[in-house]
């Protein structure tokens, strides 16, 4: 595709710069606002930087239970990510390599689980959790988030495993590897891009979820960030300046996970998305 004319090249870059601005703009505006004092956030005057201050951050970090919620969220999201990767990888591999009875129906169930609105599941899951004595604990959230993340991730990983030639499995089995060893030593390392996407997706699912968190946690030492932040949004007179600072702090960990995963996003999702 070489030999693009100059005009076309300018048009291409202009479009992409514009699109990037739209993509980044809202985030940037929130970041800029988070460094302004309250009166500047509340004013209608447009300023990019006005009396920069860290007061909003100081308030959010030291005057609220933010650090505690942050820790809760990190625990919940990391556990969801690790367990989610493990379960979806084994399931995806089985779906991809073995033609066992129940395979097709399991694939169907995975698709159908995506259709369930939270409102139908939340009450029965709540009663199961309370039977198990898990209400107001972090594991209840991890388990609930796994039910959201694993079906999609297993589906995606199955597609990716499909794109890895089965001759590799056969070679490994000739070398005396059992199916679990083959999976663990040969296939899993090759699937790194897809694993990265899976991890990213599970982490984000757990990091940003509100409905289950509001139902299953009751005391404010167990809140996750997503739910705890609702405290800044009272019905009237929202504390926008604190909200902006909190939003930035919440987004940073997700952004870090994103930076690790983004290199793999395209190749990881490729095969996964194509072969449903």
């Amino acid at each position: 595709m070489a030999g693009r004319t100059k005009g076309k090249s300018i048009a291409l870059h202009t479009t992409l710069i514009l699109a990037s601005l739209i993509a980044v703009g809202p985030i940037l505006w929130v970041v800029l606002s988070s460094f302004k004092p309250g009166y500047a956030v509340q004013s209608t005057e447009i300023t990019l930087i006005k009396d920069p201050t860290l007061a909003n951050y100081r308030y959010v970090l030291f005057e609220t239970r933010f650090p505690e919620w942050f820790l809760n969220s990190v625990i919940v999201a990391s556990l969801t990510m690790l367990i989610g990767i493990f379960f979806s990888a084994t399931t995806g591999y089985a779906l991809s390599r073995f033609n066992f009875p129940g395979r097709r129906s399991l694939m169907m169930v995975f698709l159908v689980t995506q259709m369930f609105p939270v409102s139908i599941l939340i009450v029965p899951i709540y009663s199961i959790m309370s039977t198990l004595g898990l209400i107001n604990t972090l594991p209840s959230l991890v388990i609930a988030y796994l039910t959201i993340a694993v079906p999609f991730c297993a589906w995606m990983l199955k597609g990716y495993f499909d794109s890895i030639p089965t001759s590799l499995d056969e070679a490994a089995s000739l070398d005396g590897c059992g199916p679990f060893r083959t999976f663990w030593r040969v296939i899993l390392p090759l699937a790194r891009p897809a694993i990265a996407v899976t991890g990213f997706y599970s982490f984000l699912t757990a990091w940003g979820e509100v409905a289950y968190a509001s139902a299953f946690t009751q005391t404010d030492d167990k809140f996750t960030l997503a739910y705890g932040l609702q405290q800044f949004v009272p019905q009237f007179n929202a504390q926008w300046e604190y909200l902006t600072a909190a939003a930035v702090l919440v987004t940073i960990p997700a952004g870090i996970v994103f930076l690790f995963a983004q290199k793999h996003l395209v190749s990881g999702l490729t095969a996964g998305g194509t072969k449903g």
């Binding site: 992409l16 956030v41 089985a94 609105p117 409102s119 599941l121 694993v150 994103f258 395209v266």
Partner: protein, 321 residues
């Protein structure tokens, strides 16, 4: 005896596969299939937070517990819940469904259209390609409730950036959330911003799987860029497209946080979609479990009918999926 042998043989052959899926199947059975069955059963009752106990127990002075039957305990009501919802006696089912259809159609169409456009642009070799890609995918990394908040902030009537800009150019500020359509517009815009990256990345992956010699031979045959797009790119993307459009539709249909946090149904509940409307109808005040489940079953049914229909259309066009 033969069945036992058949079972044994089947077990010997498939035990590795079953061992690998069994944890997931168990979790799904306990946390999704059982709640689903339970939820469907609830739709035929009038259970709420207030009447769920069959017995009311009170501590007596001697320390023992005295239980007697709850006079207002829940009971079976047949199809009453469905009738109440579908005839509009409770909630605004049909209005919410209409809004949901607009919301979903607009969201998915723009997600796909913009995602495809950007994927095609960014697929070619050029300078800063990696940088553009990171920037364009960035909204995906922002948790949905934060995006919702950011856009609500931008469109805030009094202090939002959008109105400030309108002011600066001499236009009147707009009370975005005072009108049904402008309110819905803001929500759809938020959702588009949020969902384009996923589509773009998925389609970019699809583009990379189309062999480049197809394009070369088409160019030699003198096909115009539009013809190449129409006859190579689009067909080559079909497997990805059919999957992501279906998933996108389902996800957008059930997308809770945007409407719930951005418009909050304003003005006067006119921008509720099914999931948010159902949530408010069933969970504000006394939690009405049976009503929530009935909405859930209705939503699930709509999506199931849609996906069966969708697959049939695809199959008619020769797609094996």
């Amino acid at each position: 005896m033969t069945t036992v042998i058949a079972l044994r043989r089947s077990w010997d052959k498939h035990w590795t596969a079953w061992a690998m899926v069994v944890p997931v199947v168990l979790i799904l059975a306990v946390l999704i299939l059982y709640p689903l069955a339970n939820g469907i059963w609830l739709t035929f009752t009038n259970q709420t937070e207030a009447n769920q106990l069959a017995e009311i127990c009170t501590k007596s002075i001697t320390g023992g517990e005295v239980c007697r039957e709850n006079p207002n305990a829940w009971s079976y009501v047949g199809f009453d819940n469905y009738v109440n919802i579908l005839t509009g006696r409770i909630g605004e089912f049909w209005q919410w469904t209409g809004t949901t259809v607009i919301w979903t159609a607009a969201g998915v169409a723009f997600h796909y259209g913009l995602g495809l456009g950007l994927a095609v642009l960014i697929h070619r070799e050029m300078r800063f390609r990696g940088l553009y890609r990171v920037l364009l995918v960035l909204p995906w990394a922002v948790p949905a409730f934060i995006s919702a908040f950011a856009w609500k902030f931008l469109f805030n009537e009094r202090l939002g950036l959008v109105n400030s800009v309108l002011d600066a150019f001499g236009f009147d500020s707009v009370a975005w959330f005072a009108d049904r359509w402008s309110s819905l517009f803001v929500a759809v815009l938020t959702n588009i911003w949020l969902g384009v990256p996923f589509m773009m990345v998925a389609l970019l992956g699809g583009l990379q799987s189309i062999p480049s010699d197809l394009y070369e031979s088409a160019e030699i045959d003198g096909a115009s860029p539009w013809q190449r797009f129409r006859h190579i790119t689009l067909p080559g993307l079909r497997p990805v497209s059919s999957t992501v459009i279906l998933l996108g539709t389902i996800w957008t249909f059930n997308m809770f946080p945007i409407i719930f946090l951005v418009t909050e149904g304003q003005p006067a509940g006119q921008t509720e979609i099914l999931v948010t409307g159902a949530f408010r109808a069933a969970f504000e005040g006394i939690r009405n479990y049976s009503l929530a489940s009935t909405y859930g079953v209705l939503i699930l049914s709509i999506l199931l009918v849609f996906s069966v229909f969708y697959r049939r259309v695809l199959r008619r066009q020769g797609e094996v999926w």
